[in-house]
């Protein structure tokens, strides 16, 4: 796991109050390279989010590129974490990364891949984009 991601997950683990976790998450949406709304299309849409959530993932010179945008701030924050986890990392690194790290934020009420679990679906999109 890269250092920036480690730091963030440590921080989440230190914060006990759930509302404070959300405030921290809120700020992480700033870390996200924005996918402008003009580029939101059916192919960028993430299913399973109640909000509009869009990501674009591609590979440039062997490094994973991640852009995202969402109208709900929590989803944007989660995208911020995923961006820190994968943006600019090598394909091999991202391939080895498992979505379970998200549980360390302590923010997931359910780990089941389901309609209401857009979080997992965003991560799956990354995996699909790198050919997994």
């Amino acid at each position: 796991m890269n250092e920036a991601l480690e730091e963030i997950l440590d921080e989440f683990e230190e914060i006990e109050d759930r509302m404070e976790k959300f405030e921290f998450l809120h700020d992480l949406s700033d870390e996200l390279n924005q996918l402008p709304t003009e580029e939101w299309t059916d192919s960028t849409r993430i299913d399973g989010c109640q909000s509009e959530a869009h990501v674009k993932v591609w590979i440039d010179s062997g490094l994973v590129q991640f852009r995202g945008g969402a109208d709900a701030s929590i989803v944007a924050g989660l995208m911020g974490i995923i961006s820190i986890a994968v943006h600019g990392q090598t394909v091999e690194y991202v391939r080895a990364l498992q979505p379970e790290f998200l549980a360390r934020t302590g923010l997931l009420n359910s780990l089941t891949p389901s309609r209401s679990n857009g979080f997992r679906n965003i991560f799956s999109r990354v995996k699909i984009a790198i050919g997994e």
Partner: protein
């Protein structure tokens, strides 16, 4: 009787270290201890299959299971009560067992824009098979049905399907008018009473409806069981669509004959513990002054909606006497999904999303709403706490 909160063990639960305030009752209600105990008692003391064996426990299980049906028929004043897994299966049963037998190519099924997906999709599937026409009664700006449009859409209609009370708007529809008018042109009427029955003891026979669908879990009973109430006339015109054990009289390799009671439509081992739990819920409800409680809850909903409006929310619904205590709302500056997560962090359970009524939301011009729905164990204090929590979220994240 005002419902003692101590009757509901789950209300003592903490959520993320905070006291639970459960406001997602339109999705499912909590269960009183008597319901949980009745189901446990069955599994601990007389678990057996029903209708089959002669041993003592089988007799006890059969009596308990069937006594739910008797209670249900008495509660709703219905001639026929067929157990299903819930409202959804009840409507699908009506579509298959009655619709397939009684509708012909070119017949019209009239629904409303307010229907839950459970009362749209079964008819769409049937339309694929039978070449029937589907029509929808529009919803007006004031969140009520356009009855003039209804009057004008009746040509060729054989079945009208209407939700008693909307799970999104809380609006209680004028089913009396719809039933009378539909019958005057010879159409049958199916009522989706999922959100109606938790709040009122409905007299099925007096209502004049031909079908009524419901789920136990929305009226303090367990999940996994519900019913389709039908008149004797409808019952006799239905044909089983699920075959198997329990529904037959005789089976030979040439063909079979069926039971002539409700079992005909309840193939396989039925929902025994669930029926026993549902009966306990109905008995529990019988001790509650539902009318007084309903007025109390509508007052709470009215107060909550006006407070939310003061905070800048748009409200989708109205709160007249017979409506349900369901408050759908949206803030411009706060996504409902975010709001629901923040409220969850503070112990409040609300629902967000399309509430399985996408055509209605499209009509309202929104993708989803936040919804707080109140039930018997909810208090005015909880509504006040809820508003305080929303204020806090708006200050922090709005």
């Amino acid at each position: 009787m005002v419902v003692p909160r101590t009757d509901f063990p789950i209300l003592n639960r903490e959520i993320h270290g905070k006291k639970l305030v459960y406001l997602d009752n339109a999705a499912t209600t909590q269960k009183p201890k008597v319901v949980i105990d009745a189901m446990n008692n069955y599994y601990e003391n007389y678990n057996s299959n029903v209708h089959r064996a002669v041993h003592l426990m089988a007799g006890e299980a059969t009596d308990s299971y069937e006594s739910c049906r008797t209670t249900l028929k008495n509660w709703f004043n219905a001639e026929r009560a067929i157990f299903t897994s819930g409202t959804t299966e009840a409507i699908n049963l009506a579509a298959h067992a009655w619709g397939k037998e009684n509708l012909r190519s070119g017949d019209v099924v009239l629904m409303t824009e307010m229907e839950h997906h459970s009362d749209i999709v079964p008819w769409q599937l049937l339309a694929d098979d039978l070449d029937i026409e589907l029509r929808y009664i529009p919803v007006k700006e004031d969140f009520t049905l356009d009855l003039e449009a209804f009057d004008a859409s009746l040509d060729g209609v054989k079945l009208v399907c209407i939700v008693h009370t909307s799970n999104v708007l809380g609006v209680r529809n004028p089913i009396e008018y719809v039933i009378e008018k539909s019958h005057s042109i010879g159409a049958k009427v199916l009522i989706d009473a999922a959100q109606g029955v938790p709040h009122k003891q409905i007299d099925f026979e007096k209502s004049g409806a031909d079908f009524m669908a419901m789920s136990a879990h929305k009226m303090m009973g367990p999940t996994g069981i519900g019913a389709l109430l039908v008149t004797e006339e409808i019952f006799q015109s239905m044909r089983p669509f699920m075959g198997g054990g329990d529904m037959i009289q005789t089976v030979t390799l040439k063909g079979s004959t069926y039971q002539d009671n409700e079992h005909k439509f309840e193939a396989g081992t039925p929902k025994i513990a669930e029926a026993i739990g549902w009966k306990a819920a109905l008995d529990y409800m019988a001790n509650i002054d539902l009318e007084a409680e309903h007025s109390r809850l509508v007052e709470i909903a009215k107060w909550t909606s006006s407070q939310l409006e003061d905070l800048g929310a748009t409200i989708y619904g109205r709160y007249s006497e017979q409506d349900a205590a369901v408050v759908s709302f949206l803030f411009d500056n706060l996504h409902p999904e975010d709001l629901a997560h923040y409220l969850d962090a503070m112990g409040f359970a609300i629902r967000t999303g399309h509430h399985c009524a996408q055509p209605l939301l499209e009509r309202l011009g929104v993708k989803g709403t936040a919804r707080a729905s109140f039930y018997l164990y909810n208090t005015m204090e909880e509504a006040v706490e809820f508003i305080e929590a929303v204020k806090y979220v708006l200050e922090k994240f709005g």
